[in-house]
């Protein structure tokens, strides 16, 4: 619009502020010189440590028990074990340190003062704690494998189980079977070369996992899609590992800063419907890909709870550092002498930064001048709820998908020739209607109806210019293999023995029909 600034109002003007208020002394104990500034307040090291532990516990503990219970008086009794996702980066390394000190070593310095010696917090919470690391080095050329270093890092802490995975496990049927899933694969893949995302059979059979991974990534249309896909593959690998280790909780080391980045990046990729899941998520496996009951019983051997756990196959994803900024994490790591392994940058020759990278650079830059930006973003998104109906779970990312997104896309970006305008418009006798290209009664199976908006965008939305692939020499396949969980759901739906699984897929198909009915309904005459 004309002024470039039509809606500016007083509260829109963010005030720059100086780094800290008034004094250089710690705001808590008042007499020690401060060591760290957290959002304008100065803290000394001795006051900072308990403050950070308090923030960590305050975020995590209300979601430990299956039913959250306000100001908690009872003991922490999770429904299963604990899985910690470790990337080697700052956040997840600090997270692991905190979990170890608070819930395994029961380190005195991390115990809350209140509650006395018999306070239920002073005991072990999770019976088994597993750390899972997903190595992504095979996704990018020339990237260093850090599995060994990570294993050494984890071994600093005793009593932890370590599960190292590789990103290509997402395409590995043996891994899938190892997690206790029944496999009914049909050698189906998807054609990523055009927008219709047709499901076709893999002509050369199922490729080995590494080839499948690289072909998949090379067939994606943008650097954004490559980054986002790796994040999704990692997250779903972790979720299935949580299931496999009978974990009721998966903890991730997302800090306040990285949560703000992932929220904005998600919004920029069309994931507004899943804002809630970025903060807190309850995930249940697809019915058809659940482990067979005897595997679960085999896995969980603690008598009385056996039956209960078999029913309760939900993984709660919690990000206990979501109130703690990157700088605070760095201070904790420094004062606790945590040897951070670090993460490699996801780059390849000629790659342009994707939406995730751009968002991170933007938010970190903004935070320099406007220090409250990240907490404002997180607070604002916390006030949002998804709008509209859910249409099942996305076959790729496992998150709730919003109904009607394909119709929305078809109206707003016309991609095939629409019919000409009516020669003789109705002239007020009936309201004018939207003009959309007729769907070419395409009955060929497509992945599209099973995808959420952001995943569909990931697979179909192109850059203005061609993008160099990380694996330019990877075999260019017209049909690429899908992640095992996607393939398993398709396999369960596309023929095979009748099972509850079939029902779920069939339901999804019928919804498409019902939806069409819904659209034409108001134009049908009563009989």
């Amino acid at each position: 619009m004309s002024c470039g600034n039509p809606t500016t109002e007083p509260d829109a003007l963010m005030q720059r502020r100086k780094k800290y208020d008034k004094t250089k002394n710690c705001v808590k104990c008042k007499d020690t010189q401060g060591n760290i500034v957290i959002r304008h307040a100065v803290y000394c090291k001795n006051c900072f440590i308990p403050l950070l532990v308090h923030k960590f516990r305050r975020t995590l503990e209300p979601s430990v028990n299956p039913k959250p219970d306000g100001p908690r008086r009872t003991a922490l009794k999770p429904a299963g074990n604990l899985l910690v996702g470790l990337s080697g980066g700052l956040g997840s390394s600090v997270l692991l340190d905190l979990i170890y000190k608070c819930y395994i070593a029961l380190d005195k310095s991390t115990m809350p003062a209140e509650g006395g010696r018999d306070h239920p917090r002073h005991e072990r919470v999770w019976k088994k704690v597993t750390v899972c690391y997903v190595e992504v080095c095979d996704a990018f050329p020339g990237m260093k494998d850090r599995t060994e270093e990570i294993a050494r890092f984890v071994s600093r802490y005793d009593e932890l189980d370590f599960v190292p995975l590789r990103i290509q496990d997402a395409f590995d049927r043996t891994w899938w079977e190892k997690t206790g899933r029944k496999a009914s694969f049909s050698d189906m893949g998807v054609s990523l070369s055009d927008e219709s995302l047709l499901i076709e059979s893999l002509s050369a059979g199922h490729p080995d996992p590494l080839t499948a991974l690289r072909t998949y990534l090379s067939s994606l249309p943008t650097p954004t899609a490559i980054h986002t896909s790796i994040q999704i593959l990692t997250r779903v690998l972790l979720l299935h590992t949580a299931l496999q280790t009978s974990s009721s909780h998966l903890l991730l080391g997302t800090s306040l800063t990285s949560l703000a980045v992932s929220l904005i990046s998600g919004v920029a990729q069309g994931a507004g419907f899943n804002v809630r899941e970025e903060t807190m998520e309850e995930w249940t496996p697809d019915p058809e890909t659940r482990p067979t009951p005897d595997v679960v019983l085999d896995d969980v051997k603690d008598g009385a709870d056996k039956g209960k756990k078999q029913l309760k196959r939900t993984v709660r994803v919690v990000r206990p550092l979501r109130d703690i900024g990157m700088k605070e994490c760095a201070a904790w790591a420094w004062w606790s002498h945590i040897p951070i392994v670090g993460k490699e940058k996801w780059v390849w020759p000629g790659a342009k930064p994707g939406i995730g990278t751009l968002t991170k650079d933007f938010i970190l830059g903004l935070e320099q001048d406007y220090p409250s930006t990240v907490s404002t973003i997180v607070r604002t998104c916390g006030k949002l709820a998804p709008k509209g109906e859910v249409s099942g779970k996305c076959i790729l990312c496992g998150r709730p998908a919003q109904r009607g997104v394909q119709e929305w896309k078809a109206r707003i970006s016309i991609r095939s020739q629409p019919p000409p305008p009516p020669a003789d418009p109705t002239d007020g006798s009936a309201p004018p209607v939207p003009v959309v290209p007729e769907s070419k009664s395409d009955t060929r199976p497509s992945l599209t109806p099973y995808l959420c908006y952001p995943c569909h965008t990931t697979l179909t939305s192109r850059s203005a210019r061609p993008v160099p692939s990380p694996w330019p020499n990877a075999a260019q396949a017209s049909v690429v293999a899908l992640p095992v969980w996607t393939e398993a759901r398709l396999g369960a739906g596309a023929g095979g023995e009748p099972s509850p699984a079939d029902e779920e897929i069939m339901v999804a198909k019928k919804m498409g029909q019902a939806e069409m009915k819904g659209i034409v309904n108001e134009f049908l005459l009563d009989d």
């Binding site: 619009m1 004309s2 002024c3 470039g4 600034n5 039509p6 809606t7 500016t8 007083p10 829109a12 963010m14 943008t222 954004t224 929220l263 904005i264 919004v267 920029a268 990729q269 069309g270 507004g272 419907f273 804002v275 930064p353 939406i355 751009l358 968002t359 933007f362 406007y370 930006t373 404002t376 973003i377 607070r379 604002t380 998104c381 006030k383 949002l384 709820a385 998804p386 709008k387 509209g388 919003q402 929305w408 109206r411 707003i412 970006s413 991609r415 020739q417 629409p418 009516p422 418009p425 109705t426 007020g428 004018p432 939207p434 959309v436 908006y453 939305s461 192109r462 850059s463 203005a464």
Partner: protein, 358 residues
């Protein structure tokens, strides 16, 4: 390379790449899909009914110039049955509005639509030049934004129209979604993606271009040979919004669908019920009758500050307290005329208020 054929009609030679979809298409198909998408936006939201009197907020810039053209085209093609008007606001910024108002006057003749120009001077007794002379270049976009919003409503009331359409495009809306998340403006975040806003006592306002890319609006004007003025505000805009705009451009360069994807995100969430309950209720300004979330509306507060020589007063709450501490508003304070909605049954607009089409 051989000439490409249009991805839509598969017949004519493709002469452009659509910024929104990346498809290579011909000129005629571009016009048609661009217009049809706007038509879809209008019909899906059931924006109008036959006989509606609709004012196009016309600034002489690209958005409103193209909007006037497309509204006229669609109104005829699909027989919406609308009576269209042009409504312009003259902020009183020397050298900024003069030329662009000429564009609007030319549109009035080309499209045969009545035009009303309403000036800040006429309405508030202050031009933007005079405001800047008093307060300096800081915060003046606050004044401009608040004043323009009311001025459009008041102009619409004078024209006795039911509805104002503005040229806000997809880029503007995506940018506003990002801004509102980053500055925590939950109330605006909840409504900024809705195509149409109408409070109980404001005139219906909508954005038929909410899914139209800025680049395509420019492209449309270019191929249709519509002339417009590129109107960059000469007073410095809010730096924070500037950051958001630059970020959005980067996102669009990385993946052109980002703009539409952000809008989709904005439409896919809503404010939680318990948060909604704590929002301020709308009331009417006790001085001028315009909708307001406080006793005095923003325009009246700003105007009072200007009149009393404490212009920065209304920009922050603290400064507003200073203004109050300075005593009550003087009796003879210049105020904005009382606001009244066009009343039903509808009367003929006073012809003197409208510059007739010749």
């Amino acid at each position: 390379m051989p000439p490409r054929t249009c991805a839509l009609c598969n017949d004519a030679r493709a002469i452009l790449k659509r910024p929104k979809t990346g498809q290579q298409i011909c000129k005629e198909c571009f016009f048609y899909v661009f217009e049809t998408e706007v038509h879809n936006t209008i019909t899906e939201a059931r924006l109008f009914k036959p006989g509606d009197r609709v004012a196009i907020g016309a600034s002489g810039g690209k958005d409103s110039t193209v909007l006037a053209h497309v509204m006229k085209t669609l109104n005829e093609r699909y027989k919406y049955g609308l009576e269209l008007f042009l409504l312009s606001i003259d902020e009183g910024i020397t050298g900024y509005r003069d030329d662009s108002l000429e564009t609007v006057k030319r549109n009035q003749q080309q499209y045969d639509m009545p035009l009303k120009i309403l000036s800040y001077d006429e309405l508030y007794g202050w031009t933007m030049d005079a405001i800047v002379a008093q307060i300096g270049k800081k915060n003046n976009c606050t004044f401009c934004g608040v004043f323009r919003r009311q001025a459009l409503d008041r102009g619409a009331a004078i024209l006795n129209v039911d509805h104002i359409v503005t040229g806000h495009n997809a880029d503007d809306i995506a940018e506003t979604v990002l801004m509102n998340i980053m500055r925590g403006d939950i109330a605006r975040l909840g409504r900024c993606t809705s195509i149409c806003t109408q409070g109980e006592d404001t005139i219906k306002r909508s954005k038929p271009f909410k899914y139209a890319y800025e680049k395509e609006i420019v492209m449309y004007a270019y191929f249709k040979k519509l002339d417009y003025f590129s109107t960059e505000c000469i007073y410095s805009p809010d730096a924070y919004r500037g950051h958001a705009r630059a970020f959005l451009k980067d996102l669009e360069a990385a993946r052109p669908s980002a703009i539409i994807d952000i809008i989709h995100s904005g439409e896919a969430f809503e404010i939680k019920e318990d948060v909604k309950a704590t929002q301020k209720i709308q009331q009417t300004c006790r001085r001028c009758g315009y909708m307001s979330s406080n006793e005095l509306c923003k325009a009246c507060t700003l105007l009072e500050g200007l009149e009393r020589g404490m212009a920065t007063a209304a920009v922050t709450d603290r400064a507003r307290k200073r203004l109050d501490a300075d005593g009550p508003a003087p009796e003879n304070l210049r105020t904005i005329p009382m606001f009244q909605l066009p009343s039903a049954p509808r009367q003929k607009p006073t012809t003197t208020a409208v510059e007739g089409t010749t």
